[in-house]
Structure formats: C-alpha cells, structure tokens
Subunit: 121 residues, 2 copies
C-alpha cells in the first residue's frame, strides 16, 4: 500500500510561487516532526513506509481559510494527522493567516477520502 503526504495551499491570498513553496515546505516539515513525535503505532508505521517509498508529496489547492479548516477537521475526524500552518506575517500576509494544511503521511486511499475532491495546485 502506497502512502503520501498531501499539502493543501490557499490560492485566494495572492501568494507568489516562492511564498507558496515556503509555506508548503513549512507544512511538510511540521507534518514530519509531528509524525516522529506521535505515540500512535499506525502513524509511526505510515510515516516509516512513506519515507521508504521516497516521501511522495502532492500539492493541492483550497480557495479560502474556511475550506482549509474544513479539510483539517475532516482529516482528523477520519483519524488522519492534519497540521495547519499560520503565517508569521513578516512579509506578505497578516500575522496568523492560515496558508496551508498538511494531511498525512498516510495510506493513499485514506488521504484521498478526505482530499480527493481537490484540484492540483
């Protein structure tokens, strides 16, 4: 069973591609640190499998802060890890702006059940 980490980024904030890349990287690193610290055995095995598979990542889009929050809520309700990134607000955005959400890493089908309706960035 293949695993992936999905990064969902807001497209309604007018972020440039460098800003988007930094936020997505922040979400990916946060998801990795959370998975490493998780006590849950399933999360631990999902994380190790994902690393061995070459840490596949897929970047998807959301259109609002509300949509990003709904995705995170749905992921957690499905027993998946979700990490929401809030921008520090040093450059383009107001401090605390929700920019990105990581879902997983977990088995593809479990992630798709939450994020399968979203378009690629």
């Amino acid at each position: 069973m293949a695993h992936k980490l999905v990064l969902v980024v807001r497209t309604d904030l007018g972020m440039g591609r460098g800003k988007i890349a930094a936020q997505v990287a922040h979400a990916a690193v946060t998801a990795v640190l959370a998975a490493q610290g998780a006590q849950d055995a399933q999360r631990g095995s999902d994380f190790r499998a994902w690393l061995l598979e070459g840490q596949p990542k897929v970047v998807l889009r959301a259109g609002s802060a509300a949509e990003l929050s709904q995705i995170a809520d749905a992921a957690r309700a499905a027993g998946l890890a979700a990490e929401i990134i809030r921008d520090a607000g040093r450059t383009q955005l107001a401090p605390g702006t929700l920019t990105c959400c990581a879902v997983g890493p977990a088995e593809n089908s479990r992630v798709d059940a939450v994020t399968g309706g979203l378009a690629l960035l």
Copy 2:
C-alpha cells in the same frame, strides 16, 4: 544569532508552481532528516535553534543544474549542510533531474556567504 534554511530551486525546467512547491518541500524535509541524523555538534545546535526560531525558510532561484551543483559544492566547502534533490521522474521531468538544493539550516551570515548573490524565486 538567527538561523535559516535556504531552498534553491531551478527556474529553467519550466516546472509549475505545484511541482516547485513539492520539490522545495522535499528538500526541506531531507535537510531536516539529515540535520537530525548529523553527528556534528554545530549542526545539531544550529538545527535546534532554527526550530525554536520558527524554522525560517527562504526560497531562491538558480538557472541551471550546473549552478545548483556549484551552490551545493560551495556550501559544503564552507562547512554547511547541502542536500540536492533529484526528481523521481514520475510526472513532468526526466528521472534524476536535479531540481532543488537545501543549504542549512545554519546561521544566517554563514548561509548568506554562499547564497547571498541569488535572487528570490
């Protein structure tokens, strides 16, 4: 002393913003895993400081594979960690294509000595 992780991404490959974000995230995660596994005391303390500072990331651009390799070589010659990402080639690029390079995390001035001449993505 502030610390940062610099991600340098090639702009000559015609990658879309989602592809760029995934490659930058891959480089950031790879740099974090390498820092966690490093035996070097300076790298360990730089990594912990960087995390405490909110893991600042800066995304810069390079124009070719040769430039990316030169940046990695210069970083290592300066005693900095450098991780080069090769694309698995499943989608837009030929397998093994160099896409991105992570430098650090390390003290800002040491990173700037290597990447200070590069433009923001």
